[in-house]
Amino acid sequence: MLRDAERQKLFTRRMALLAGGKLALFSLLAGRMYYLQVLESDRYKTLADENRINLRLLPPPRGRIVDRYGAPLAVNERNFRVLVTPEQAGDLEATLHAIGKIVPVSEETSRRILREARRRRSFVPLTVRENLEWEDVARIEVNAPDLPGVMIDVGQTRRYLYPAETAHVLGYVAAVSERELTGDPLLELPGFRVGKSGVEKIHDLALRGTGGSSQVEVNAFGRVIRELARKEGQPGGEVRLTIDLELQKSVAKRLGDESASAVVLDVHTGEVLTLVSTPAYDPNAFNRGLSGEEWRNLNRDSLAPLVNKAITGLYAPGSTFKIAVALAALERGVVTPGQRVHCPGFLELGDARFHCWRKRGHGWVDLHTGISRSCDVYFYELARRLGVDRISQMANRLGLGVTHDLDLPGERAGLMPTRKWKLEATGVPWQGGETLIAGVGQGYILSTPLQLAIMTARLVNGGLAVTPRLTRELRVGFSEEIERRESTEPFKSLGLNPLHVELVRAATDAVVNEPGGTAYAARIAKRGFEMGGKTGTTQVRRISKAEREQGLKKSHELPWIERDHALFVGYAPVAAPRYAAAVVVEHGGGGGAVAAPIVRDILLLTQERGRRGDGVLRTAGRAGLTPSALNDAPLPGRTAPSGTGG
């Protein structure tokens, strides 16, 4: 008993020790609980929500692009997709085979889906086919009982309704590239598209809208349990262009297969009614995604379908430039309208001989005939008297050699050379002969078709510095809020003597409407619709002395790439000019023979559309501000004034 008592005493003592230890450890647990559930609770609550709440972005529908009358150009089309959920499908391979009996499923697609199915969670739907026809959708729906886990999903894809006619204006959308990521989470959505060129690019933000979001609760495997909250986004805004779709289509058709471009402007408002560059590419293909082969072919094509030639094509303006030279000469007083210059077919400067396009010469030529017959010698002489700097200065005032902030990316300035520029750029001083070449719009001088149209518009609108405009209005989402893109102030005057402007304009009238004018063959016979204009034919290669002596080859005898560019700038109606147009046909041949008839057809159609009585083409809202109000309804039968310059 004694020993047991001793043992018990020891036992009791140690029991107490253990009890103390246990109490301490239990306190530790309670303390830890306090730390985690009271002190750190907020942090863990946040973590818990992050765990289970997933923010999903809802992409907004992209805004439509419509023409000036509201005809849709770029829309969103429902894109029917077949999706398969591996978890529900069971035997995925058999299901794919079953789908393949209804709509073709390539071997490659099958392999891709089977591969993805292994990698992804089994409840994530996989895309089998996109852009299904409605009939295929119906057939799949009918067979739904035999296709477990297969569903039809409606997404949206961008669709360009007139790809060939509007590609260069609208541009295209495509998947977001790494460089374009701005932090906007929308851009990181798989399958999201942004504008890559054209209006789609310039107005990308407005068209894009803002994304909505959906808060969903997910479990540890990412499966959505339920939606907790939803915030609707703002659909993309609608962009209304100044383009007239019907005109655009006709012009594109008229240019046909040529490598060409055409621009039609409202001379008072600067609205671009038509802007076409041919050949075009298919913007829908870019949205779908081009193969490397397709992309290489587009880039290699000598007709440059990817290039919007109307704003980025740089051409020597040739004789169309004589408008600028003539105005410069009159304004600077180096020539009077009646002063005559003799053209024997060439002009000699030092050792060099500068040829007129008419080998036997024009005889005595004044300003009026110099322009209407496009006498090169007359303009060599004017240029010699002016010097290149003063020519380029006038050209800049008329809108050449500068950009105009058109709502299109990639607009180029071209080049109006000066003596200073040449010395800086090449290190070689300006040569006198180069001035003569500049006088006929060749040499260093480069301009775009858009600029030529602007020059024409400024000539015929009373000498106002009109600038081009492509966007009529931006409509934000579904709201009534409309941002009008019209300048509220009238365009500034260029400060030219109205008499001089009228002299040159009348001479361009004669180009088309006087027998002997270089575009007389292309005149508009319909009374009240007559056009004026200026031809231009520019060499794309140097003609050697030997060639000249052998006699020049006819255009069609030359290889295509060596043929001249055909240019024409025109306006109509001559009595009260309303529209200006510029056409450049690359390697087309003579401006009078090739480009002028195209402009004739374009301007005739433009006027007919403008006078059809709907009046929409009229620039409502600007009445009283510009002469356009007076000219809005030209009276049929009103005769065109004949040339007064000569």
Binding site: R3, D4, F26, R52, N219
Partner: protein, 382 residues
């Protein structure tokens, strides 16, 4: 063997039933009740598949408990080594023919049920050690040679369990055995010495640890290093627990558990789910119930008049404490993740049965607290 002369050593069955500590059983039922409630919630508000089966097991467990409690403690004393031997045989059998589940070979299949021999060993080892030390005087315990046999009795099953591998059970066996050694009167410096040797053996042990065991230790030391790998369980458990706050998210309102972020929410990690839904108050309430049970365990050990009963009661109490502490400390990120269930609450048949058997023995000590046993189990004849 039993002397008829001592009345207190013989008790009619009716009296034994009266002597059973019914309040303790009520406490156990309350704790198990927490389990039923949480299993109901873990199944998304359904008795199936866990809560109903757990209830049935508990009912069977109570019956077993009572049966063991009224069985004479001298029977348990007498067959202590036999139970130990049987448990050891089962452990070897597991080694030879066990079923592999959850990456470890722990299970033996019988006709209709599976059980883990290691759970049986926990109770058997306590019985065997209590038996051994019952027979040794305070002087005996001081002799190192006297300690050779009990050390071997611990080492063999620990070695077998480690081979399965089941680190959690091995640690439990060692710690519970250490508690018994301590209570039996082994000098403290010996524990210090063993502790030092253990620290010295850490590098060697590290070499012997399985890859996943090393991962568990590493992820305990820095759970954020590999948040989706082995640290995932600890981080998610802490998030669930911490987000519960003081009052919890409400019964059935937990998110982390229901959305499957919590691993093993119905077994080892059930405490996190409880703390998420019922908050710190719920957690402390459960902890208090456990504390009360421990307190009664102490009282039973203290009031026992035989050394075997004292040692057995304390062994069971310590074992029970270790279960609770290791499990809760583990889910709160205080110690590495070892597979130890929360007694009476975690879903699982064998563990439940083992706990009920252990408490049956504890109550048997209580019922037979006045039985006086000699060194070999007979009436004390000193």
């Amino acid at each position: 063997m039993l002397s008829d002369t001592f009345d207190r050593n013989r008790m009619p069955l009716r009296q034994k039933f009266r002597e059973i500590h019914w309040f303790l059983i009520l406490l156990l039922t309350a704790i198990a009740g927490f389990g039923f409630v949480m299993l109901y919630s873990a199944a998304g508000g359904s008795l199936e598949p866990w809560a109903s089966r757990q209830m049935a097991r508990f009912a069977v467990g109570v019956a077993v408990l009572v049966a063991i409690a009224v069985t004479d403690i001298r029977i348990w004393f007498k067959y202590a080594y036999a139970f130990y031997a049987v448990a050891l045989v089962f452990l070897v059998l597991v080694e030879v023919a066990g079923r592999i589940g959850m990456g470890a070979q722990r299970w033996l299949s019988f006709w209709i049920f599976n059980f883990q021999p290691s759970e049986l060993m926990k109770v058997s080892l306590l019985l065997a050690l209590a038996h051994y030390f019952h027979g040794g005087s305070a002087e005996d315990v001081r002799r190192p040679l006297f300690l050779f046999i009990p050390v071997a009795m611990v080492a063999v099953p620990v070695g077998l369990v480690l081979r399965q591998p089941d680190l959690g059970t091995a640690v439990m066996l060692m710690l519970a055995a250490a508690a018994l050694f301590f209570l039996a009167g082994v000098r403290i410096w010996k524990f210090v010495a063993v502790g030092l040797v253990a620290v010295a053996a850490v590098p060697i042990t590290w070499q012997l640890l399985r890859g996943y065991q090393r991962q568990r230790v590493l992820s305990f030391l820095d759970p954020d290093k590999d948040p989706l790998g082995s640290g995932y369980h600890i981080i998610q458990a802490k998030i669930a627990l911490g987000s519960g706050g003081v009052l919890g998210k409400g019964f059935l309102q937990g998110t982390q558990g229901h959305l499957s972020f919590l691993p093993e929410k119905q077994t080892d990690f059930i405490f996190t789910m409880l703390a998420e839904e019922l908050g710190m108050l719920g957690g402390l309430a459960l902890l208090a119930l456990y504390g009360l049970v421990l307190l009664y365990g102490y009282a039973i050990a203290f009031s026992s008049r035989n050394h075997f009963g004292r040692l057995l009661a304390m062994g069971i109490t310590c074992m029970f404490f270790l279960y609770v502490f290791i499990n809760i400390a583990m889910v709160m990120g205080l110690i590495p993740v070892v597979g130890v269930p929360l007694p009476l609450v975690s879903y699982g048949g064998t563990a439940m049965m083992a706990v009920m058997i252990a408490f049956g023995l504890l109550l048997s000590v209580h019922v037979h607290r006045d039985v006086i046993m000699g060194r070999r189990g007979g009436p004390d004849s000193f």
